[in-house]
């Protein structure tokens, strides 16, 4: 039995955007109090991509769960339009084919299997997965699995996408491919995106803004505007410079 925190107290006022203000969150664990977030603030306007970078264990996942309404803050306010989560591990259901995994959010709302497939099918084509509609996750490559997982989040039909280190488990080459791919998708399907990552380059490549978080307890220590045209190239001087700025905000010597 999973203890489910109450779902209701999410307030939905920031139309299609996300507003997190001075939020603190403390967990009581067997090993004592863990302060995950302390006075964390973050804003995302409608259709803005906000990348959140920070060291491991700085409360990034907690932040996303707050935005998705899976947790409530101990203090501070979270105003967010309905958000769908893309978890760190793909969490595809091993017994479902790619198309049925992609349509899971629709099935969760009571859509029939045929309807869900009809909706998901053209998207699988757009995502380069038309030949793998009926393939189960175990026979898909890591990059394919992340695409299916992202599509599942997208088809939830929420204005906000909360992406939790979506490409962290991929090898370097696939990760770069997937970053380029996600940039393209978001251009044609604009959504408000909170992209949590520990990869500074990924943050600068994909974000309109980069929010840098401190180690635990996490709070925003720096915010970097990325006013660069897309598609961006990793080797562009402006990208490299912003990456260095983000790294130094994280306290990394470069």
């Amino acid at each position: 039995m999973v203890e489910a925190p109450p779902k209701e107290p999410r307030e939905l006022k920031a139309a299609d955007g996300v507003q997190v203000e001075l939020v603190s969150r403390v967990f009581e664990t067997k090993r004592g109090r863990v302060e995950a977030l302390a006075r964390m603030s973050l804003r995302a306007e409608a259709h803005e991509v906000v990348a959140v970078v920070g060291p491991s264990g700085c409360g990034k996942t907690t932040l996303l769960e707050l935005i998705c309404g899976l947790q409530t803050p101990d203090s501070g306010t979270v105003l967010a339009a309905p958000a769908a989560l893309m978890p760190q591990r793909d969490l595809l259901l091993p017994w479902l084919s790619a198309i049925d995994n992609a349509g899971l959010a629709l099935r969760a709302r009571g859509v029939s299997r045929d309807e869900a497939r009809k909706t998901a099918s053209p998207w699988l084509g757009r995502f380069g997965l038309e030949r793998f509609e009926h393939t189960r996750p175990a026979e898909l490559s890591g990059g394919m699995r992340q695409r299916v997982s992202f599509l599942r989040t997208l088809l939830a039909g929420k204005p906000v996408l909360a992406l939790d280190e979506p490409f962290a488990a991929l090898d370097a080459i696939t990760r770069q491919e997937m970053q380029g791919w996600l940039g393209h998708v978001l251009e044609s399907e604009p959504r408000t995106v909170i992209l949590v990552t520990h990869d500074v380059e990924e943050a600068v490549m994909l974000g309109d803004r980069v929010v840098v978080m401190s180690p635990r307890p996490g709070r925003a220590v720096s915010e970097i505007e990325v006013a660069l045209p897309r598609p961006r190239r990793r080797t562009d001087a402006a990208v490299v410079e912003l990456r260095e700025r983000a790294l130094s905000a994280l306290g990394v010597e470069t």
Partner: protein, 257 residues
């Protein structure tokens, strides 16, 4: 061809054991074979008593199959209840374990008293002895569901019932199969003991009345049939599981790059 090759060690071992058995009984003399018949006497009994054994087998097989079915229904329903209610888990688990420790010989007469000498008390015995493993493995399957998946379903606005249907129910199915496979052997023993207590048909009844009549070969013949039945049932379930739950037997080598 490869399968036949794989079965070879098992076949050779069984043949060797039968050979030793035959030799041992033959050396001991004809009186001893009244206690332990030799393999060739058992084969003879299998042939000569074939109509009795067959009709008895049908009775016992029916008891075992229906009893297991009852156990699957009650076991999986109870497992779902236990999964969702910690109170129910604490309340029932000790009793479920205790139900396994009570010898069939003790409660079977009570069942015969309540339910008569028909098939009903046998179903209850088979169900009671086999539902333990089904409850335990099904509960384990349900408990092993990733809590992050439940969270994910909540961000998709799934009701608890839909989350159960799409996520937890399929996760529990391998556990139901495993529990049933474990239950097969004890369910056959359960049926035999239930027939000992009060019946006039079935392979257990045949064993019971053959021994005092010094028809040991017939009793062993009935036992052989019971063993083969258990093996066949196990193999059938394994096959059904492969067909019903192909994702459990995935082949990761076939991944595209």
């Amino acid at each position: 061809m490869r399968r036949a090759h794989q079965a070879l060690p098992a076949v050779l071992l069984v043949l060797a054991l039968i050979g030793i058995w035959e030799l041992y009984v033959d050396l001991k003399g004809p009186t001893f074979s009244l206690i332990l018949p030799s393999p060739h006497q058992v084969v003879k009994a299998l042939y000569e008593d074939r109509s009795l054994l067959w009709s008895s087998f049908l009775v016992t097989a029916q008891e075992v199959l229906l009893g297991i079915l009852v156990a699957i229904v009650f076991g999986s329903v109870l497992a779902v209840g236990i999964h969702f209610s910690p109170t129910l888990r604490r309340a029932t688990y000790p009793l479920i374990v205790a139900s396994q420790a009570v010898p069939v010989a003790v409660f079977a007469p009570v069942l015969a008293f309540w339910l008569g000498f028909g098939i009903l008390p046998k179903l209850v015995v088979v169900a009671v002895v086999s539902f333990f493993s089904i409850v335990v493995t099904t509960t384990a399957g349900l408990d092993a569901v990733d809590p992050d998946l439940i969270k994910l379903m909540r961000t998709f606005d799934a009701s608890r019932l839909r989350t159960f249907r799409h996520v937890e129910f399929p996760s529990a199915l391998p556990g139901v199969f495993t529990g049933t496979k474990i239950a097969i052997a004890v369910s056959v023993i359960g049926a035999v003991f239930a027939e000992y207590t009060g019946s006039n048909s079935g392979l257990g009844y045949v064993i019971l009345v053959s021994e005092p009549q010094l028809l040991a070969a017939r009793a062993v013949a009935a036992t052989v049939i019971l063993s083969l039945f258990a093996i066949a049932l196990f193999a059938l379930l394994a096959l059904a599981e492969r067909l019903a739950l192909p994702w459990v037997y995935r082949t990761p080598e076939e991944r595209p790059a």
